[in-house]
Amino acid sequence: MRLRFTLNGQPVEIETPPDRRVVDLLRQDLGLTGTKEACGAGECGACTVLVDGRSRLSCLMLAAQLEGRRLTTIEGLGDPQNLHPVQRAFVEHGAVQCGFCTPGMVLAAVDLLEQNPAPSREEIRRGLSGNLCRCTGYQKIVDAVQAAAGDDPRGEDAP
């Protein structure tokens, strides 16, 4: 099918099978490998992208579902010289280790802060509970999201 959508702010028009998984479309066809795949079954959140600003799992989406949508991948959020505030907070607060969950985690956090600009640590934990991380124990990720929201990460709920 002829697919038209907006990718990281740019209009895109490509020919693709309608049942192509979005994660494959992004990674293999469009070279945007910042979107990761770690389970292929919607269980880990590594492939999270933003569709019309809301976090979605690109391993469970088919290309046809992108028609007319606004898609943001990690590459569209910021670059190393010009980090998005959530990305900067992840870097500064040590929320990145192996980094494989990071793109999905960052995008989930962006969506979370969009919905709830001043979340508590518990709300952050709940909001990110669909994204698995095996390296960090999540604490520094929660710190980072809290900092990105403008809060002192060692505030209220901290021990």
């Binding site: 990674r27 293999q28 070279g31 945007l32 490998t33 910042g34 979107t35 990761k36 795949e37 770690a38 389970c39 292929g40 079954a41 269980e43 880990c44 590594a46 991948t73 990690i74 590459e75 959020l77 910021g78 670059d79 190393p80 980090l83 990305q87 992840f90 870097v91 500064e92 040590g94 990145v96 280790q97 192996c98 980094g99 494989f100 969950c101 990071t102 793109p103 960052v106 640590r121 952050i124 934990r125 709940r126 990110l128 509970s129 669909g130 994204n131 698995l132 991380c133 095996r134 390296c135 960090t136 124990g137 999540y138 604490q139 520094k140 990720i141 929660v142 709920d157 901290a158 021990p159």
Partner: protein, 776 residues
């Protein structure tokens, strides 16, 4: 250089201060290219047909239908393997592709190379295996029984891969004279690494016949030898390149896709071939933390002084060695925990079965024994009517003491300080208050556990690293690090160390990641050794480079070298104030002068607690240990059986801390995995059938399952480590399980014997029903 330029130079990265990870910015932007991120239009996909049965003789493989499928480039079997077709570290007992026998369901039997993943999947279905079923063995006792089906009939020990035995003092006999003796048996489950990036890589056979493999691995230099030997290639013609792996934790300590990729490339020269396991395939075929059964007897006098211990440890190593002997040996060494026990008798067994492959996993045999010895101590404390902390205080190891395997502890030991930090913690001091405040239908408990963890390989296998620094003619410094950074951040620590030693801002340094053609052999990213062993080599290289630069500048200034300082971006003659930019000096140097290499071999213990040379080869004993005391405060829902960890505290002695943020990352990540091991992670394989193939059935902790994890480190200095450092990556995973178990025992009034502590097990325990889940 103008004064303005100097102002723009960022400061030198000081050791001891948190310094932002070099890899973070690229990773957080999705710009870091992992091994699985390679794509090219002409790229082929490789995949394997797995056996699907636990034990069978391979009579044949019918590849004809798969070969005929359009888009299939090659279908390969063991007949296409021109080398030894065997992989492994100590015992080379694992085939690249099954030749004689299938030994577990994840064994690779045929390799298919196809133009895309859809074709690959179809072709794999068309490969037909002719298998003659053999009786399989899944139980440890059955495996060791007379007449058991043999997994490796040629192995002299039958299904016993390796036995280890150490006796000190009067051994188990001393238990007879102990007024108080407790005993228990514990069952620890398999644990799956569940790294987010499954096993992945890509490779190409170049025009000159060399094989270049880019893989997610912890062991590039060992991989090169294994790939070459198994495929019959000249190691000099095999190159392994390692981007940052997306997690590893021991599961990529050794070959995963590398040899298969090589074989595929030999059949499809010139084309890049990629292989990337699915999650289910990774769970099926990847190595696990060894399932284990442990029998303990521990005796003390009435004052709570430990007298004697008998331990029998059984590690289910599955069908292949895969470091299982080494894992078992580290368990043997740590079986008595960080305590003075004058009389011990420890026997440990690594046993072949047709179960999942047991292999390296952060902790490396120690979490199993820590679970057992710590809970046995808690039983003893209860029997003596003694506070469990006090019992530990009376028996913990100090410098110069004999360890439970009878070696003199000859390294920095901050364990006492760790325990006192825990004793002072508000959660420990006010635990009775906290427990009383348990909400309705819940019970609370607070438990503690101690751990020690050996650093490095042990006495025989050389624990060596080679560092290389290159000053470019433009004045930049390349840091060649042959040790993989799979997420621990050791590459950043290297930058920090070199930055300080060379007095240059970190942005002046560039990392060259592990690559057998560019970096020097530096061993595996394992054994809590990455910075401990590489660090001294790097510091020595940096000192030599700094000395060389100062000497060269001194010649130019026509001054003695003592008057010359290496400053950020420049060298200065301190007496006259004359300066020369580093870049100008660099341009004057010969290429050979701009490169410094240094090698370091970590010191080892000269002691031999066992006369068995195999145990020394497998790593017994260690010279240097890190230490920790950990506390868990849990709340148990008596209606649902759910255990919630409300607080967790770690105090550790890992020597001098070079980067506090990186240490916290290591501790928090390890504790999270340790809590998963204690409470949720229940990898199940039933007679060859994988019951937990995905994240819906194998539950790793989410952000909601964990509390904030509190970390404190005591200030110790280990003279044998770089800048006083000891290893930290594994230690904090050792004791979360026993700390949680102690807290659960206190809350619920029963002592569990099987793990993880699922709601079913908790409810059974609370109901007081006699259950195999409870330790006798």
């Amino acid at each position: 250089m103008s004064a303005q330029d100097k102002d723009q130079i960022s400061p030198v990265a000081q050791v001891g201060v948190s310094f932002t990870r070099r890899d973070a910015a690229a990773k957080v932007c999705g710009r870091e290219a992992y091994a699985c991120d390679f794509y090219a239009p002409e790229m082929l996909w490789a995949g394997v047909k797995r056996a699907g049965v636990a034990h069978a003789r391979l009579r044949g493989v019918d590849t004809a239908r798969a070969r005929e499928l359009p888009g299939v480039e090659a279908v390969l079997t063991h007949r296409d393997v021109k080398g030894s077709n065997r992989q492994g570290v100590v015992q080379k007992d694992q085939p690249v592709l099954v030749d004689d026998k299938v030994r577990h369901p994840g064994d690779a039997v045929a390799l298919v190379v196809a133009r895309d993943r859809q074709t690959l999947a179809r072709a794999l279905e068309l490969v037909e295996l002719d298998l003659e079923p053999l009786p399989a063995v899944f139980d440890l006792d059955e495996a060791l029984a007379d007449g058991a089906p043999l997994i490796h009939p040629e192995h002299p020990g039958g299904n016993l891969l390796l036995k280890g035995e150490v006796t000190t003092g009067r051994g188990a006999e001393a238990l007879e004279s102990c007024p108080v003796v407790v005993q228990a048996t514990y069952h620890l489950p398999w644990q799956e690494h569940a790294y987010l990036e499954t096993e992945a890589g890509w490779a190409r056979l170049e025009e000159d016949g060399s094989l270049v493999v880019t893989a997610s691995t912890q062991t590039p230099f060992r991989d090169r030898m294994e790939v070459a030997e198994s495929l019959g290639l000249d190691p000099a013609r095999v190159r392994i390149i390692v981007p940052y792996p997306g997690g590893a934790f021991g599961g990529k300590d050794g070959i995963t896709v590398q040899s298969l990729l090589g074989l595929a490339c030999l059949a499809c020269p010139g084309r890049p071939v990629k292989m990337w396991l699915s999650r289910e395939e990774s769970f099926l075929a990847g190595a696990k933390r060894h399932r284990a059964r442990l029998h303990y007897r521990l005796g003390a006098d009435r004052e709570g002084r430990l007298v004697a211990m008998q331990a029998r440890l059984y590690y289910d190593t599955g069908p292949y060695d895969h470091l299982g002997g080494v894992v078992m040996t580290l368990g043997l060494e740590h079986a008595g925990g960080p305590y003075r026990i004058p009389h011990t008798e420890i026997q440990s067994y690594a046993v072949y079965t047709n179960n999942p492959v047991g292999g390296a996993f952060r902790g490396f045999g120690v979490p199993q024994v820590a679970a057992a010895v710590e809970q046995t101590l808690d039983r003893l404390a209860a029997e003596l009517g003694m506070d469990p902390l006090e019992l530990r205080r009376r028996n913990l190891l100090r410098r110069g003491d004999l360890t439970p395997v009878g070696t003199v502890l000859d390294c920095s030991v901050g364990l006492g300080e760790c325990l006192e930090a825990l004793a002072r913690h508000r959660l420990w001091r006010r635990r009775e208050d906290w427990k009383r405040k348990a909400p309705p239908h819940t019970r609370r408990g607070v438990g503690l556990a101690l751990a020690l963890h050996g650093v490095g390989y042990g006495p025989v296998v050389p624990d060596v690293a080679g560092a290389k620094l290159e000053l470019t003619p433009e004045g930049r410094i390349l840091l060649y690090a042959g040790v993989v950074d799979m997420g621990q951040g050791n590459a950043t620590t290297y930058l920090q160390m070199a930055s300080q030693e060379l007095n240059q801002p970190p942005d002046a340094l560039e990392l060259v990641l592990p690559d057998t053609a560019r970096t020097l052999p530096s061993g595996s990213a394992s054994a809590s050794r990455t910075t401990y062993t590489f660090g001294p080599a790097l510091l020595a290289a940096a000192r030599e480079l700094a000395a060389r630069l100062r000497a060269k500048a001194a010649d130019l200034f026509m001054a003695p070298v003592e008057e010359v300082a290496l400053l950020p971006g420049r060298l200065m003659h301190l007496t006259s104030g004359k300066e020369i930019p580093l870049a100008r000096l660099a341009a004057m140097l010969d290429a050979a002068e701009r490169v410094v290499t240094r090698r370091h071999r970590a010191p080892t213990s000269p002691q031999r607690p066992s006369s068995d040379p195999w145990l020394a080869l497998h790593g017994l004993p260690h010279k240097v240990f890190s230490f920790a005391a950990q506390l868990a405060a849990v709340q148990v829902d008596t209606l649902t059986g759910r255990v919630e960890v409300k607080h967790f505290f770690t105090a550790c002695d890992v020597g001098n801390v070079l980067n506090p943020q990186l240490l916290e990352q290591q501790v928090q990540g390890a504790v999270a995995q340790g809590l998963g091991y204690a409470l949720w992670e229940d990898f199940q394989s039933e007679k060859g059938e994988l019951l937990t193939p995905d994240f819906a059935t194998y539950i790793i902790p989410t952000a909601l399952d964990l509390p904030d994890l509190e970390t404190r480190y005591v200030r110790c200095y280990e003279p044998s480590g770089p800048l006083g450092l000891k290893g930290a990556g594994e230690l904090p995973i050792d004791a979360p399980l026993p700390a949680v178990a102690a807290a659960v025992a206190e809350a619920c009034g029963f002592r569990p014997a099987r793990f993880p502590l699922t709601p079913e097990r908790i409810l059974a325990g609370l109901s007081g029903r006699p259950s195999e889940d409870q330790a006798s």
